[in-house]
Amino acid sequence: MSATSADPDWIHAPPARFDLVTCYFPERLQEAEPGLKLRPGLVLAVLRGKTSGRYACRIAYGTKQLKLPRRQHLDLIIQDAADVALLGLARPTRFDLDHTAVLPWTATFFGCWSGFATPVIGTLTEPYVREFAYLMMKRGSVPPPDGV
């Protein structure tokens, strides 16, 4: 994985934890061409290659299938209309914390919506960071984030 002159500038500016980004995800997995489309993702961690200096991110993918009330105590769900707009989302979104992926911060896995210069579309606000920490503690996987 090495940078080329064709790479967009944003690959040199990694997102931060709890940023919301637009990332590619298959729409039709059962077909030969799964039809990758951009959707929101929540950055859970940022990694850097010790040799290349390139970046990667652990992502929780977002979906507009909220699955309330079944998933409300398991996933981070943004459904308040004002919060949806504040965070840069297009519609209420559930970030699935069951299945996450570590993805290179490249144009293969991330892309920009029209009019955007970067895949970063917003950042979680403190109440949602606290909610995320609470969800993860309930899941028993990690201690709460620093300062939360």
């Binding site: 990694p14 931060a16 298959p26 951009l38 299938q65 570590v102 896995f109």
Partner: protein, 61 residues
């Protein structure tokens, strides 16, 4: 190394409104679909040692 941005002030992001294409995805997040993306990513991630520089979630690769 570019400075990692830290934004925790709750301020509204200075980004454009989402375009119509922001509504164009429908598939649910499934274990199979996430695994598909991870397999694709692993081809680019393998052969490099990765260190977490922001956050502490999941495996350390």
């Amino acid at each position: 190394m570019p400075a990692l941005r830290k934004k925790r002030d709750g301020a509204a992001p200075k980004t454009p409104a989402p375009p119509p294409e922001a509504l164009a995805y429908d598939a649910d997040v499934t274990a199979q679909a996430v695994a598909h993306m991870q397999r694709k990513a692993d081809r680019e991630l393998e052969g490099e040692e990765w260190a977490i520089v922001d956050g502490d979630v999941g495996d350390k690769r």
